[in-house]
Amino acid sequence: MKKTHVIILVLIAAAIVVLISYTGDLTTYETVASARQKEGKFVNLIAKLDHTQPLEYDPVKNPNYLSFVAVDTLGNAIKVVYHSNKPTDMEKSERLVLKGKVQGDHFECKDILLKCPSKYKDDPKAMQNNQPVVSN
């Protein structure tokens, strides 16, 4: 066997090992109920903002504390605490991907990914419901 072949095999093996070890770091997408079951484990929670509940954010008191209630598609709700500034347009977001873990009664959020209507501009379904307001 040629040296090159040996090196190719070693490197490919290394790449495979890297990818296998990566699967250990992967997390999962969860609902509120399944995230509660995995309390303390880092998960990605897909939910949206519950507009009927108050959103607590006061930059004067603390610009790094945001608290709100998230509700998933099954209708389960959970209080979310996020220790950073409130993402812009969060109220307008149709869907939130919350990265963090359940701690006791609430969800400790480390990062929030917004799915805003702005990014869904081309979405035909969203557009249908987005008729301009006309004053005549």
């Binding site: 090196i7 770091d25 992967l26 990605n44 996020y82 347009d89 081309d122 035909p124 557009m127």
Partner: protein
């Protein structure tokens, strides 16, 4: 029904040219292909002539479509959906082009445009290879044209046309009125994130990079079809060109992210970024194996494979970013237009035939079965190419988890720290690539005299060790977030990167004897090394400066050090009250004023930074741009103060304007020196009375007698403030001088002296109902980031030098 005020001609022309471009590109594909199959020279010429005419028609169509769409957008013809959804009347002229790339259709058009330009260069330059290469390019044009069709065939939508009318797409009630255009006064506007000058230049360059990867691919396919492997010479400058442009495009995206997005950085291992980086890595691998084959006869099969896989990865990244499949993992993916099947076919129609052809011809591709010498340049270059390729595969595999989810119904999400998951692997790739880039040029092709290598290599090695030890010991690179092992790897990578810079720079003298013309590769490698140095130092030493010092985070502060607190250190946003100097590490920071610019609709904030020691002082103007109609909130654009060795980088994370009417009244209270009064949020202590204090001189005139009260305010949250209300007396007239504690919304006045003997005074306390103007700010320091930007410039310069060198008629140069 007749609709009023519509401009239907541009749309009809647009549809016509769409169909024409589809037909013309198909004719061009067939004709170019026939020209490679026929033996007779006259017949060949005939087919070529037909093909060129067809390609000319194709080019005219694409340019016409481009022009029509520009006309529609610039004339605000909102009866067209594209103009309505992607632009509005207030848009600045310079961003009209950005509307093109906001939608999928416009960016496909841009891609198509570049294929036309590159196609004509190939027709002009490719000579014998024209037929084969242009077959592939024309076919790609055909597939791109289908993307813009927007017709239904047997109920399946093919493509998405940018020329559709609003009233045909939506069933809003108002659209059925004949005068609906009078009701639709303005479009929805361009996404605010794209209203940035980088967004005018980054997409065209990136798409030129995407488009240009087809040229090496087309040469490879033509070579396989014609069983002729001489294309490796003309492919070299094309591969260098593509690498330079794609690399520039990617890094312009990084610069845009750095200057316009509030991600707090230039690279986030976002799927969209990865999807364009990986083809670049495989292209660089292909460029190196191509060089190996030209100089030693090895690695031709690998070259074929790398060029095929590069273009396929471009198509795969198109699928990833446009199918909406990344929805939950990426911050900026396009949305599903119902074209997923078509996008997948777009990938497969190139990948499957190309790989099959490669498999069928594999045995026939010449290869040397003798082993490469360990003391040869080709051996180490091949290892480097392989490492680049595998690192690309690891990145794309990690990025593809949403595809795995789709295929197998799993629910895999990215890891807790996706950036570290990439960094911990890629730092080792950086070490290997840095070392290989440093030493490989000191080997000669085929075999290197050991004495030559030993004699030349020790000087740059010695210098690089000295410099990197200097950085390691005095550079204070202490990135201990992920443990000592990772930190050690970073230091090792810094050495490798410095080594790459020093060794390649020295090689210009030691190896090439100062022949700058032949130094393209060395210069590109120096640039690449600088990019690595810049990335390593700026990322490892990136620090948050805006630690919240206003003392308002008792809750999270205690938990910050706790193990397993997911928030980590949450105090990274500093609250600034208008006019109040706030402590921020080395600086006192003041939010002095803000102005709304009507032209670009941005609100600029003036933030004054003053160093506590020394007289360093500067202003930053981060801005926010109000979002499009129908959306609240704003998009923040950072501002940075550039030093040669670091950037101070700041952006607004939230702001509040004082809008409420101030209805509160002064409450008058008696006070003596040493007394304490309460207000709703804490204590007010009168320390002493000062007569004509020198530090308040600007507040009273000469001839006036001024009395000032030295007052301390202690808020419940524990912060301490200082206020100096006073009065100026001239004869019988007196004038109050109030003082405001913005952060407490507290206004103090000194009303009168009630009883001189007892020292009884009266002060007025007003607690303003409205919150004062405030903003929260995030500030980072990025050291050595300019080395990164400069490195890119140097690298591109190196590529340009080697393109010039290789396109010269003087025959092959083997210096590489």
């Amino acid at each position: 029904m007749k609709y009023l005020g519509e401009h239907l001609l541009p749309g009809q022309l647009g549809h016509f040219f769409t169909i024409l471009s589809l037909v013309a590109s198909l004719v061009a594909t067939v004709a170019f292909y026939r020209s490679t199959r026929v033996g007779l020279a006259t017949e060949k010429q005939g087919w070529l002539r037909l093909a060129r005419v067809a390609f000319l028609l194709e080019t005219i169509s694409v340019f016409a479509m481009f022009g029509i769409l520009y006309y529609i957008i610039s004339h605000h013809l909102f009866e067209y959906k594209y103009a309505y959804t992607h632009s509005d009347k207030s848009l600045q002229v310079e961003y009209l082009l950005s509307c093109f790339w906001e939608g999928q259709e416009g960016s496909f058009m841009l891609w198509s445009f570049w294929h036309c330009v590159l196609g004509w260069i190939l027709i002009w330059k490719a000579k014998a290879w024209e037929g084969g290469v242009m077959t592939v390019v024309s076919f790609a044009q055909f597939t791109l044209a289908t993307m813009l069709l927007g017709v239904y065939v047997f109920g399946v939508k093919i493509g998405s046309s940018p020329f559709v009318l609003l009233r045909n797409e939506f069933n809003w009630p108002i659209l059925s009125r004949p005068d609906y255009l009078n009701l639709i006064k303005d479009g929805e506007g361009l996404n605010t994130l794209l209203q940035n000058y980088w967004m005018v230049i980054h997409p065209p360059i990136l798409f030129l990079g995407f488009a240009s990867t087809i040229v090496p691919f087309a040469y490879a396919i033509a070579g396989l079809l014609q069983k002729n492997h001489d294309w490796v010479k003309p492919s070299l400058p094309w591969a260098s060109f593509s690498a330079a442009v794609l690399g520039t495009g990617i890094m312009m995206g990084a610069a845009w992210a750095y200057e316009s997005l509030s991600f707090g950085g230039y690279w986030a291992w976002d799927p969209v970024e990865n999807a364009s980086l990986v083809p670049w890595l495989t292209l660089i691998a292909g460029l190196h194996t191509n060089l190996i084959y030209r100089s030693s006869g090895h690695s031709l099969r690998a070259t074929y494979f790398f060029y095929i896989i590069t273009f396929s990865l471009i198509l795969y990244s198109t699928f990833l970013t446009r199918s909406g499949i990344l929805g939950d993992t990426s911050v900026h993916a396009f949305v599903d237009l119902g074209m997923n099947t078509q996008l997948l076919l777009f990938l497969l129609v190139f990948l499957v035939p190309a790989l099959s052809l490669f498999g069928m011809r594999y045995k026939g591709i010449p290869a040397i079965h003798k082993e490469e010498n360990t003391y040869s340049r080709e051996f180490w270059m091949f290892i480097g190419a392989l490492v680049l390729f595998l690192s690309g595969m690891v990145i794309i595999a990690k990025t593809s988890t949403p595809v795995v989810n789709k295929l197998f119904g799993t629910k895999i999400a990215p890891p807790e720290d996706p950036e570290y998951a990439h960094n911990q692997i890629q730092v080792f790739v950086a070490i290997i690539i840095g070392l290989l880039a440093a030493v490989t040029q000191y080997f000669k092709y085929k075999d290197t005299p050991k004495a030559f290598f030993g004699k030349k290599i020790w000087v740059p090695t010695f210098i690089a060790v000295l410099i990197s030890l200097g950085i390691s010991f005095f550079g204070a690179v202490r990135f201990d977030k992920h443990g000592p092992g990772f930190l050690f790897a970073i230091h090792l990578a810094i050495f490798a990167a410095v080594y790459a810079v020093v060794a390649n720079a020295s090689y210009i003298w030691l190896g090439l004897k100062g022949k700058i013309k032949a130094a393209g590769a060395s210069v590109a490698h120096v640039g690449f090394g600088m990019v690595l140095v810049g990335i390593l130092i700026s990322s490892a030493k990136k620090t948050v400066l805006s630690w919240n010092t206003t003392g308002v985070t008792p809750l999270s502060e205690e938990k910050a050090g706790e193990r397993g607190n997911p928030a980590g250190n949450p105090r990274e946003n500093l609250t600034l009250f208008k006019g109040v100097a706030t402590d921020m590490g080395r600086y006192m920071v003041t939010y002095t004023r803000d102005t709304l610019n009507e032209k670009d609709r941005k609100r600029y904030f003036e933030i004054k930074f003053k160093a506590k020691e020394g007289n360093e002082s500067f202003d930053l103007y981060p801005d926010v741009i109000k979002n499009n109609k129908g959306m609240e909130g704003f998009a923040a654009n950072p501002a940075a103060k550039h030093y040669w060795y670091k950037d101070i980088f700041a952006y607004i994370t939230s702001f509040q304007e004082n809008t409420g009417e101030d209805t509160a009244k002064f409450v008058n209270r008696d006070i003596k020196v040493g007394d304490t009064l309460y207000y709703s949020n804490g204590l007010i202590v009168l320390n002493k009375v000062q007569v004509n204090p020198a530090e308040q001189q600007h507040k009273y005139k000469t001839g006036e007698t001024a009395l000032f009260l030295d007052i301390s305010i202690l808020s419940k949250a524990g912060s301490r403030y200082h206020a100096m209300p006073g009065m100026a007396i001239a004869g019988n007239n007196f004038r109050p001088i109030t003082d405001t504690v913005h952060s407490q919304s507290l206004i103090l006045s000194f009303n009168k002296v009630k009883d001189e003997k007892q020292g009884l005074l009266e002060i007025g306390i007003k607690e303003s109902g409205a919150v004062t103007d405030l903003l929260t700010l995030k500030v980072y320091e990025f050291p050595m980031i300019n080395v990164l930007w400069l490195g890119i410039v140097v690298m591109v310069l190196g590529f340009v030098m080697s393109i010039l060198q290789r396109t010269k008629k003087s025959g092959p140069l083997r210096v590489a």
